[in-house]
Symmetry: C2
Subunit: 296 residues, 2 copies
């Protein structure tokens, strides 16, 4: 059997998921941004996300921003399902020689973001380990669930904000698009949606694959961060912007309403999803970030 560095994250996850039994109360299982389960009188969103020192952040970063990022990533996934985040739990693995003040600051950054988004931290776990690791669980509420797999051929692809160059700082300070996603859900809804965490080059194929479609992107339309190339917009990752599809008949009205509602955040039609064989297939080899191979 191969080592993890030889098989990559998508293959690992897909193999692990195959071993899981079904349960009819699971409305959306592993593989989307969040799980959705049927509870008495509600659909409950469940999400877990993790960050590891040296992989997702360096100890030289401001501790408050490290804590903030850990929660922001999970909130971004709840947003990507059209949900509102509600409760959080935090696992902290911490080296024994870490300063107490570092942990307090990390927590402070997390609590401040939690308050901003109406999230309550209800529990957690702390334990010793060789480096800092933060795993965050978030539950969320949804009125209408937006998954990755509802798109049809012809649907227009949109991204919010700017892509590329996140590692220069935005990866620590990005704003989860909860308000924008909820607006989309109430006003459209989108036919599919996710957040861009591993880079458009990895995440767009995932979105297309979920609906069994190919994609076409007009590279000139990619909203590149000033100073970034199209290559960086494709591959850098950690953008945490929304990637979503809208039926072509509704796209123009959506664009117009968006500009009025969110004048400070762009939304860009970057291409469309098309039938298999009519565009770039989801096994597209443009580079993106893979956690295990450490390759772009």
């Amino acid at each position: 059997m191969p080592k993890l560095s030889e098989i990559g994250e998508d293959e690992l996850v897909s193999r692990l998921i195959q071993t899981l039994p079904n349960d009819r109360t699971i409305l959306t299982g592993p593989g989307d941004d969040c799980a959705v389960v049927q509870r008495p009188n509600e659909h409950l969103l469940l999400k877990v996300d993790a960050m590891v020192e040296g992989v997702h952040f360096l100890r030289s970063a401001a501790p408050a921003l490290i804590g903030r990022k850990a929660l922001a990533r999970a909130i971004s996934d709840v947003a990507a399902m059209g949900g509102a985040p509600k409760y959080a739990m935090v696992t902290l693995v911490l080296p024994s020689d870490l300063e107490f003040s570092f942990v307090l600051q990390m927590y402070k950054g997390m609590v401040a973001l939690a308050e901003e988004f109406g999230v309550s931290i209800v529990g957690g776990e702390t334990t010793r380990g060789p480096c800092i690791m933060i795993s965050v669980t978030v539950t969320g509420e949804i009125v209408r669930r937006i998954t990755r797999n509802g798109a049809e051929a012809g649907d227009v692809l949109f991204v919010t904000g700017l892509l590329g160059g996140s590692l220069q700082g935005r990866h620590l300070t990005f704003q989860p698009r909860v308000r924008e996603a909820q607006w989309l859900v109430h006003n459209l809804p989108p036919t599919s949606m996710m957040d861009i965490s591993d880079g458009l080059a990895k995440d767009l194929p995932r979105l297309a694959r979920a609906s069994g479609l190919d994609f076409i992107v007009q590279e000139d339309y990619l909203p590149c961060t000033p100073g970034c190339t199209a290559e960086q917009a494709w591959s850098d990752g950690e953008d945490y912007e929304l990637l979503f599809t809208v039926s072509p008949s509704r796209a123009p009205d959506m664009l117009e309403a968006w500009e009025q509602m969110f004048p400070d955040l762009s939304v860009m039609p970057i291409g469309k999803l098309v039938k298999q064989g009519e565009g770039i297939p989801p096994n597209f080899a443009r580079q993106g970030w893979d956690h295990f191979t450490q390759k772009k």
Copy 2:
């Protein structure tokens, strides 16, 4: 400010909790075995627990048992609130040089235990890191919530099973006491309950403190694992047995009914909780396991 190795886990957690705002939908917040939140038509249990290679297990252990233990610990906490576990999410931090087969086996152990307890694994997160870390989130359902803080002076202290010597193997194969805890809830309920994870010496003071009481233990009554001393029963930890209190008027009937219901699992009255000043105070210095000071 001190380093984590100087302040210990309870102090760290208590300082972090102080920074959290309140929310009236949080019925039980940080500090108990699980959080309990009010949802439409139900009380939802939320729990997160983590294991780190070199701290909670060695890589030489059977991978299936490592995975099993990670989930079993979280299920044990749900049991300790009187709940039934329902959904799980799993964060895996994995070194790139780990064999794929190791991960598959780890997952297999987890999935087998999940099926045994009616738990569905609905999501997860995988990322690279310097050693294996597993963080497990479990949600649970409760009919009646049993917290740590409902005991009164005079209540009898009980423990299930045997204490001490868990590191010789039981820490990997223990059975979470879900069925037993649910039976207690339906037939009594206990006035307070928790599971013993850091050792009676650390966990009993926590239970007493939650109800503002002292405790008295008859050391002769400690149910020591054969070959273990009372000292080991106090301090070894990782027992994952139930520690609970019952009002003295109901204790005899409970004992009799327990023996009929669970002939293969002992339950032992080890002492009682008493008013402050009348027993051993919760700041009792007998040794238990602390994750950060690495001291017993």
